[in-house]
């Protein structure tokens, strides 16, 4: 777990240094880009809506799907926050010479978040199976009733 946490952390540190030069230009380009951002915003809205809808279902498996969709949309959102340039140059350049490049830091962040999301989704699925074994159902309402105790 911690290995996972530290490795991308180092990566993030590295990319942030690269970013130092590239950042200004990247953000400026991102705001002027227009079209891809509109599409992404719509897709993001849709993803969050689907995720929220699934989380509110009674079926635990759907809830887990919903949670993982929400966390994946958070990742997509993070990537867009870096500013998508139509011709996204790789952020490689000399000192201060990478204007117009896509922000690489968010991609490092997203890598970290994806790895964490992978682990937690796996846990949530195992937990779902375990819930089924213990309660004989994966309906959240029935689980609540069956397990109701004092208080």
């Amino acid at each position: 777990m911690t290995g996972v946490a530290t490795a991308p952390a180092g990566l993030a540190a590295h990319s942030r240094a690269v970013l130092a030069a590239a950042q200004e230009g990247g953000e400026a380009a991102g705001t002027t880009a227009g079209e891809p951002n509109v599409v992404l915003a719509a897709v993001l809205g849709l993803l969050f809506a689907v995720g929220t809808y699934l989380v509110l279902r009674r079926d635990v498996v759907r809830v887990v799907w919903g949670v993982s969709i929400v966390s994946q949309s958070a990742n997509v959102y993070l990537v867009t926050m870096g500013g998508i340039t139509p011709a996204g140059d790789a952020p490689i350049g000399g000192h201060g010479g990478a204007a117009g490049a896509t922000d690489p830091l968010v991609q490092a962040l997203v890598l970290t978040a994806i790895v964490i999301g992978f682990g937690t989704t796996a846990l949530a699925l195992v937990l779902t199976y375990r819930v089924y074994e213990e309660h004989g159902t994966i309906d959240t309402r029935e689980i609540g009733e069956a397990g109701e105790v004092d208080g």
Binding site: M1, T2, A5, A9, G10, A12, A13, H14, R16, A17, L19, A20, A21, Q23, E24, E27, V55, V60, V63, V64, V67, V70, S71, S73, A74, N75, Y77, L78, M81, G82, G83, G96, L105, V106, L109, T112, A113, I116, G119, T120, L123, A124, L127, T128, R130, V131, E134, H135, T140, I143, G144, A146, G147, V149, D150, G151
Partner: protein
Amino acid sequence: MTETIVAAPLLVALVTAIATLLTRASDRLTRATSLLGAGAYLAAVAVLFRAVDPAGAGRTLVYQVSDWRAPFGITLVADPLSAFVLGFGALVSLASLAFAALYVDAYGQRLSFHPLYHFMMVGVTGSFLTGDVFNLFVWFEVMLMSSYILVLFYSGPEHTRAALNYVVLNLLGSAVMLLAIGGLYATTGTLNMADLARRLADPAAYDVALLPVLGLSAVLFSVFALKAGLVPFQFWVPAAYRAAPAPVTAMLAGVVKKVGVYAIVRLYFTVFAAASLPAIRLPGLADFSPDPGVSFLAFFGPVLFVMATASVIFGGFGAVGRVDLDDVLAYSSIAQVGFVVLPLAVAATVTSPAIRTVGVAAALVYAFNHGLAKGLLFLVSGTIEDALGTTDMAAVSGLAARSPLLAGAFLTGALALVGVPPLSGFFGKFLVFDAAARAYAGGASGAGIAIGVALLGAILTIAYYTRAWNAVFWGDATELVDAVLPTRGPDLGASPAGGAVADGAGRDEAHTGVEGTDDDRDAATASGDAEAEADRTGEAETEADRTGEEERDAAPARDDSSPDDQESAGTTGDEGRVQLPHSGGHPGPASRRVALAGEVTIVVSMAIAVVAFGVGFEPVVAAAQGAAEAALDTGGYVDAVAPAAAEEVSGS
């Protein structure tokens, strides 16, 4: 290279976690490594605490990971605030782990309890030390992933249900946190907390729009409120606390909750306080344009106030009505976190720096006190559960006569939370009232209500602890207590050997409502279908003696039942009320007596610590004062972490 010391607690916890993974072959070796690691962790924190010296010099030590300078690399920062919270975290952690080494059964110990516990500590330590917002997210995840499995540890019906809620809620919380952090990065262009504070202090120079930052910080706030269990994000607390093993609950309530509180103090009082509130225009509402120079805290003050008030009232009234000791403690910890946040609300609302410092110091002292005292109470509850198999207040009574030491420890913890003078809790409560009263004297709006809420909370605290004390420790012993602890003894270990007790329970036709009294729980939990059937057949009141018979009958045949059976049998209490899943690993009555005696010893030494910190409280208050000053000294934090020299490199 004194800076390297900042990483020491983190490394010690990490190395211990890995070492306990490597020594899994030998149960004894794992426990020894684990305890040694917790001791080393406390030592590392103590060295760091001395180096930072919150009560005196109040240095801020900064460790730049891999030598990447602050705005670019990840930074570990040990300032007085971090050192203070790490300090009491390490104390509670050592006590809980020592308790766990005796409490968690051998099967559970093999089932990677110790690595999980230490990975949770890694996450807690990292959260306290990091100076980077995204890194905070990562440490939160490290902490949460371990805590998911620790809540799920017994994986019975109750536990899976509680863990499902806990996991889903926190996964959503993590996604929201990621959204907020991504948005903050997009609007401010940095993730480093010090750099963030610098940019927010001078938004024009860095081209930062403050309005989105305000919204995003509010989104982030909801995540921290969820971690801290503040109303309206409290609903996961009671179920999760009941499901987790007692020592883990002690950690969750005592330390992990405080991570949320720490994050609120660190981010909102140190970082976002640097920003001045922008004009807010909402469609359909009058424009809100604050005076120039009013910080974000003015926005969060009322929010904190409402949440704290709701928590104190909800938790207090909830705790008064519970029938299970664990539930009382869980609801109590919702109320007590309200008490921690109440002075923070006062501090955020007032403008006077002096009162603000008092408010934050009050919150920290109260958090310290709550960490120790609530940790102690949950361990007492765990000891009762280990000895009697239940913490239902109807089934447990008259313990004061049977185990005066345990009763004394509970009384100490309860009185500390009530706030009786010689104990550490008095100063916490005193400072909370002091902060509110000073704000009231200064004419701050709502300070009068804050005093009223604090008073109501204090009265409710007295009410529910008196009720719990009366029910569990005073009165006549119930049959269950008589069966398990027939004589008075200095500790619970004085009970007679297992066979005799089991016979006694059966012969007396004990109306216990609990299966598997005392020592025969070893066998009882290992039992297969016979006992599970017995448990399912209706009311325990009428079936108790029959259960006792069956247990004894079935005992010889139980040893060869599979681990799966053990688990299911152990957790199939009547109506889920009685759960004994954690027993069953102790090899025999003698070692169980030793374990119970050890648990009582740990609980008593924690009670002594509560008294000791109350008697010699000046250093703690001084440290909290230093921590509060450091928390509010945004300029000092920025200068220490990301000095202006690094600024030129960023080219902005």
